[in-house]
């Protein structure tokens, strides 16, 4: 067993937790993930790092044939996400995304109701996410003892340390993440795709409007309304195509609206119209989504048996792409057209520039 963290305090706490669990002092500590991944006795890793760090260790682990449980959102950019998918598939490693809602029964049942046509043809999916926060300009502060700040920044641009930049709050800064849109979008857009059967495709038109803070450290959109159009033929339950709207204007969760009813699901539970839809079960000849009662156990089972996990890498990519496309549309201030197969924008070289970002030396994928 080993733990790796660029914050010595966090690292020590993690090692203590592991040692107490096993009743020994065998857990080794690393500051540099490359030293850990270079070991020949590591079977699997759990990667829980800020978004700007998701791709590099994931790809390195995959190249070293190490199975991976990794946090959502899959990656900071669409390009890095695709690189992770390629590495995982090419190296045939087990991958579980931390999209643990898939291991909650009510999310699965809600999606099965939709997938089995019980609300008819779906015309609209509304994904509700939280409103973002703001903070004002922040002073430069001394780097806390034990924090390898240069390593924490890693591939992201060099910026002075301040407390509200790091750890939990990286989420609200576009150099490291994409705001609530990506932080929560990774969860509920994933459920939206699961219910619609669109886990390996994406929208073809995205139009986003949002409010970005004009000043202050946190610069991700606080309010957002992203309209995504999916064409006919990509969803088995939307033969005419459908619209997905992602916004903080809606109640949290995924709401599927069809010709014959609706389903709304979030962490508190699910509701349907008609109400009796909740009592239905997917039959033997119907769509039965993969069952998992425990997200971590599902991953460990896959490590042992090499079966697929309930949250594989490619659905994670297509889920977070919705949020990335929304952010790109908002930042450009206009509608964009997307080719989900080729993974570039249609006749839009400016938007294509936002598919990837150069990394601070020496980092690369």
């Amino acid at each position: 067993m080993a733990v790796c963290d660029v914050d010595a305090g966090h690292r020590g706490n993690a090692a203590t937790m592991v040692n107490e669990s096993y009743g020994n002092r065998d857990c080794e500590e690393y500051n540099d993930f490359r030293d850990l991944l270079a070991r020949d006795d590591i079977d699997a890793v759990s990667i829980a790092v800020p978004d700007h760090w998701h791709s590099i260790p994931a790809i390195e682990a995959a190249r070293n044939k190490i199975d991976i449980y990794a946090e959502k959102p899959l990656a900071l950019t669409i390009s890095e996400g695709r690189a992770i998918v390629t590495a995982v598939k090419a190296n045939r490693v087990v991958w579980q995304t931390g999209s643990w809602q898939r291991s909650r029964e009510h999310f699965r049942k809600a999606c099965e109701v939709v997938r089995n046509g019980r609300i008819g043809d779906v015309h609209t999916v509304k994904v509700g996410l939280p409103t973002g926060d703001r903070c004002g300009p922040q002073p430069e502060m001394p780097i806390p003892p034990g924090l390898d700040y240069n390593f924490w920044l890693g591939p992201a641009p060099l910026e002075p340390y301040t407390e509200l930049r790091c750890h939990w709050n990286f989420r609200w800064i576009l150099d490291y993440s994409g705001g609530q849109l990506t932080d929560w979008g990774a969860h509920h857009c994933d459920i939206a795709n699961w219910g619609m059967g669109t886990e390996s495709t994406g929208p073809i038109e995205i139009e986003g409007t949002g409010v970005f803070p004009r000043r202050g450290l946190w610069n991700a959109a606080t309010d957002y309304y992203i309209v995504c159009r999916y064409p006919a033929g990509v969803s088995p339950v939307a033969p005419q195509g459908f619209t997905m709207i992602v916004s903080n204007a809606f109640e949290m969760g995924a709401r599927f609206e069809g010709d014959d009813g609706w389903v709304h699901v979030n962490r508190r539970g699910w509701t349907t119209s008609p109400e009796e839809l909740k009592q239905t079960e997917a039959g033997p000849d119907e769509v039965q989504l993969r069952r998992s009662d425990n997200h971590a156990a599902d991953f460990l089972n896959a490590v042992r048996t090499r079966e697929p996990t309930v949250a594989p890498v490619e659905p994670a990519h297509y889920a977070i792409n919705i949020a990335h496309l929304g952010n790109i549309s908002m930042r450009l201030g206009r509608k964009v057209r997307w080719d989900p197969g080729a993974e570039h924008f249609v006749d839009d070289p400016i938007a294509d520039r936002l598919l990837a970002r150069a990394m601070r030396a020496p980092w690369r994928i």
């Binding site: 641009p157 020496p362 690369r364």
Partner: protein, 105 residues
């Protein structure tokens, strides 16, 4: 500024960004803007910057040439696989592999 230029930068911004590539405090962000620009002129600027750049900056430039899959850079990159600086040599090895299609991320 360079975050904006990555999106809206034009050919006019290439020369000043090229000069910034050689400055340790500015190099990464200059490259941040240049890397997003689609034109072959950017590849040439990056290639031309290699000989004068110190090793740490060379690594960044090499990485970007690899990610851009710049075939024009192969002639400059291949000899760097034998560079005395191990970071430069390793970056060049990886970049050549990316460009030649032998390494896929």
């Amino acid at each position: 500024m360079c975050r904006q230029l990555a999106v809206i930068g034009t050919h006019h911004e290439i020369p000043p960004l090229a000069r910034a590539l050689q400055q340790p405090r500015l190099s990464d962000m200059a490259r941040y803007a240049l890397a997003a620009m689609p034109w072959k002129a950017v590849d040439q600027v990056l290639i031309d910057s290699l000989p004068e750049a110190p090793p740490h900056i060379q690594v960044g430039i090499i990485n970007t040439l690899g990610e851009r899959k710049s075939y024009a850079a192969l002639q400059a990159l291949r000899p760097l696989r034998d560079a005395s600086n191990p970071a430069v040599a390793e970056a060049a090895q990886h970049a050549v592999g990316r460009i030649e299609g032998m390494i896929i991320p």
